[in-house]
């Protein structure tokens, strides 16, 4: 077979190009360590997502240090959770699976982009250095509402981030003169301990309480409210722990016009 000498030169150049490409991609995989989505996270039965240890409860979880895990379930046509918050400088591992058809989990403008195939779990780890907001979208057709499937990822400055959850339990109405309490549960989702103060404001009154919670722990807080000092009427209250707030209204009724207790 006779091959023209220019043709030979071209052939050699083409091979160099090809080998060069393979080399750069290999470098990308071992140098900066860009790993591909693979089969490490295993498979899952989509009918059993709700009982799954990982996806039974979705959202952000602290693994310790600057490592976090985010579990997301995709379904037509939303993500659960649809809003995700992680601290800057953290290393975040996403686990995503689908309840119905194939979707994607794509964080716009970043390398976070994976297909979400029912029966499989996609796992990817990313580092977010700078605070910012990123859109999340589905780029695989998943039915007529596909274009409405979106979410938001917020990377907040490290010192503004916590995994504190606050919930309250308070009566709506109380008779004047009676003792009443506003109860709060503060949950610390971080592995590290939490030291802070809880503040309850009601009417003109203000109560403060120091709170110390272990990693992965919670604390019950009880505020005794002096209804006499409040007087009859509607009283808005706010309970604040760091930047978490819960509020409600307490109506103090005098004994005479009581009876409106069809709550």
């Amino acid at each position: 077979m006779n091959i023209h000498k220019y043709e030979k030169a071209w052939l050699v150049a083409a091979m160099v190009l090809i080998v060069g490409f393979i080399a750069t991609i290999t470098y990308g995989a071992v140098g900066p360590g860009i790993a591909m989505i693979d089969d490490d996270a295993g498979s899952i039965d989509p009918n059993e997502i709700s009982d799954h240890e990982r996806f039974g409860e979705t959202g952000v979880e602290h693994l310790g240090g600057n490592e976090y895990e985010v579990d997301v379930v995709a379904q037509a046509w939303s993500y659960s959770p649809s809003e995700i918050e992680v601290p800057a400088g953290s290393e975040v591992t996403f686990y995503v699976t689908s309840r119905d058809v194939t979707h994607s989990f794509t964080v716009v403008g970043t390398n976070v982009n994976t297909m979400v195939v029912p029966g499989q779990i996609s796992e990817m780890t990313v580092k977010f250095d700078e605070p910012g907001e990123y859109g999340i979208l589905c780029n695989e057709y998943c039915g007529q509402g596909h274009h409405t499937m979106e979410g938001l990822l917020t990377v907040v400055p490290e010192d503004e981030f916590d995994l504190t959850e606050l919930s309250t339990d308070a009566p709506r109405e109380v008779e004047a003169g009676n003792e009443t309490t506003i109860n709060a549960t503060v949950n610390n989702g971080m592995q590290d301990g939490l030291e802070t103060t809880a503040t309850l404001e009601i009417g003109e009154q203000q109560y403060e309480r120091d709170v110390t919670i272990d990693g992965e722990g919670s604390a019950e807080l009880t505020f005794d409210v002096d209804t006499d000092a409040l007087g009859a009427g509607e009283h808005d209250w706010t309970l604040t722990v760091d930047d978490h707030e819960e509020s409600g209204t307490l109506s103090v009724v005098s004994e005479t016009d009581g009876g409106d207790t069809n709550e």
Binding site: I18, I37, P46, D100, V101, G143, L152
Partner: protein
């Protein structure tokens, strides 16, 4: 040698030589043009809808339109044209007709019936009178589930194409008996090698449909493994892109040199190129699944390496085609380093269309190399970049070559002169310019994250942030490009219709193709050993696919964990604004 043989048939058209075959080819071309006409118009609807320039359909129906656009253009238009060209190539280069013309009609009709079934089931998405659903796009990923008619139609179409391949093989075997010692003529060699990898790759999608999707849509089995059917689809899905491309390559190898006024640079190298496609087209499909869970990185790496080597035949083609054009130009009196370019027949729409298509394919090569780069794929996967890429490859390198070729072929098979060469030249130029605008904007949109396959890529909670220009500008550019493309399409169809009614048939070119500077006698006989190459191709596929498929079956089960079908529609009842998820399987 072909060149001498062909001079004997000089000044006779294909219609004169093979009137019966010419009829089937003409029918196949018209089926192809009809798909192009409808599909192209739907493309315009999509472009205007997505960019919010003009929205006159419901966004929920967008996906019906997109399914039709994808199927009609990527499958129907391309493959009907291919069977036409290959039938021409085999009969012309063997200088004998098909063995049994009834068989030829049979596969053509089978393909038509398949297309109609698929078309009607897609139409069910917008026409209430048709109780079918097939809004599953041309990739039909389970557990999205189409009506059984959709799958049956696809199977008929593919089996029709298998029979077409059998037809070409039979014709070649018949010729072989009459000419036991001759080399396979180049065009036939190209058609046969292409057919072989088509058999190899369609096996995957046939398996996916016949064993899994069709029984599942009929309720015979009630679960599928979505990753398995998806992997089987892509086992076919990359090779199919080469299936579209091979007739275009054939045109570049055997028509362009002739049109440039010269000969093909090297017959042996052309054979090497087609053998490489036979070997490498299939064991690369996993490069479409770089971002799929459930497939180990190692398999992705192997697919990536194979893909990169698959660049080789295309790079070789670039060389041979340009060298052949230069040779032709110099025969026509061209001189100088680049001055020879002036001597090429730029006024000939067949030549210019193919040359521009080749140029765009070079550009597509660059964006393709990005796609193939495993880790860069994170950035572009399923973004509009990909759509920009394949409108350069199948949407231009293939489609524009086909349209340009039609300006030569339709007169050949109808015996009627092309109605207007000027209009034809204008048409290929307008297509080129239109695609420049549309594809450039799509690529750029992909880079800032705009997704493909999305009716309204405008989101509530965030905005895109383009590196250059604004989203509005990009949308305008896409719309402009799409309008130009549609104009070009109309120019093409007008010319084809008027040619069919043209009474003029005086100066028809003869049915010839390019001779070669370095002929088959220069190439080792082993190149023609189709059995050997097929065997190696099968081994490569087994090596590339056994382990990934085994691990997918192992982790998800052959039929998956009770995964039923979904037909996800937005509830239209305004009282129920909530989207409802309709599961069709019990």
């Amino acid at each position: 040698m072909e060149v001498t043989r062909m001079s004997s048939t000089a000044s006779r058209t294909y219609l004169d030589q093979f009137p019966a075959e010419a009829k089937v080819i003409k029918a196949a071309f018209w089926s192809s043009f009809m798909a192009l006409a409808i599909g192209g118009l739907l493309g315009l609807v999509q472009a205007l809808h997505r960019t919010d320039v003009l929205r006159f359909i419901d966004s929920a129906d967008y996906y019906t339109v997109l399914t039709a656009h994808g199927i009609l253009l990527a499958i129907t238009f391309t493959i009907f044209f291919l069977v036409g060209i290959f039938t021409w190539a085999v009969t012309t280069s063997l200088d004998r007709g098909v063995v049994d013309i009834r068989f030829t009609w049979a596969w053509y009709i089978m393909m038509v019936v398949g297309t109609i079934l698929v078309g009607v089931s897609i139409l069910g998405g917008v026409v209430d009178a048709i109780p079918m659903y097939a809004d599953v796009l041309f990739t039909f990923y389970a557990p999205l589930q189409a009506h059984p008619a959709f799958y049956v139609g696809l199977v008929l179409f593919v089996v029709g194409s298998w029979l077409a391949g059998a037809d070409w093989f039979r014709t070649w075997w018949a010729w072989r008996k009459e000419n036991p010692d001759e080399r396979i003529p180049l065009p036939t060699f190209m058609a046969l090698t292409t057919t072989l990898f088509w058999y190899l790759c369609t096996l995957g999608v046939a398996l996916s449909i016949l064993v899994f999707l069709l029984p599942w849509s009929l309720g015979i089995v009630d679960s599928v493994n979505p990753l398995l059917t998806r992997t089987l689809f892509w086992y076919f899905g990359h090779a199919v892109v080469y299936f579209w491309l091979m007739p275009a390559y054939m045109m570049w190898y055997i028509m362009l040199p002739k049109l440039s006024g010269g000969k093909l640079f090297s017959d042996p190298l052309a054979r090497v190129v087609f053998v490489l496609f036979l070997l490498l087209s299939t064991p690369v499909g996993i490069h479409h699944q770089y971002l799929d869970p459930g497939i180990a990185e190692g398999y992705k790496f192997i697919a990536m390496t194979n893909t990169m080597f698959l660049l080789l035949p295309s790079l070789l083609t670039a060389f041979t085609v340009v060298a052949s054009m230069e040779h032709g130009a110099r025969q026509r009196g061209g001189t100088g380093y680049l001055g020879w370019l002036k001597a090429l027949p730029w006024r000939d729409p067949v030549f210019t269309g193919m040359a521009l298509a080749g140029l765009m394919f070079a550009a597509a090569g660059f964006s393709g190399m990005i796609n193939a780069g495993m880790n860069i794929n994170y950035l572009v996967h399923n973004s509009w970049w990909v759509v920009g890429h394949f409108h350069l490859t199948v949407g231009t390198a293939v489609a524009l070559t086909f349209m340009a070729a039609a300006y030569w072929f339709i007169p050949q098979v109808t015996g009627k002169e092309l109605w207007s060469r000027q209009l034809a030249l204008g048409q290929v130029l307008v297509w080129f310019v239109g695609m420049t605008f549309m594809s450039n904007a799509m690529h750029r949109a992909g880079l800032f994250g705009m997704p493909r396959r999305t009716a309204e890529p405008q989101y509530q909670g965030f905005n895109f942030d383009p590196a250059v220009g604004t989203v509005g500008e990009i949308n305008a550019q896409v719309a402009l490009g799409a309008v130009l493309l549609t104009v070009a399409l109309a120019m093409f169809l007008l010319n084809m219709v008027l040619t069919s009614f043209n009474d003029d048939s005086d100066s028809l070119p003869a049915n010839t193709y390019a001779g070669t500077l370095s002929g088959p006698e220069d190439s080792p006989a082993v190149l023609d050993n189709l059995k050997l190459w097929t065997a190696i191709a099968v081994v490569l596929v087994i090596v590339g696919y056994t382990l990934p498929l085994a691990s997918i079956v192992e982790s998800g089960g052959l039929f998956g964990p009770d995964i039923g079908g979904f037909q996800l529609a937005i509830e239209t009842d305004p009282a129920l604004v909530l989207e409802s998820v309709r599961e069709v399987m019990p």
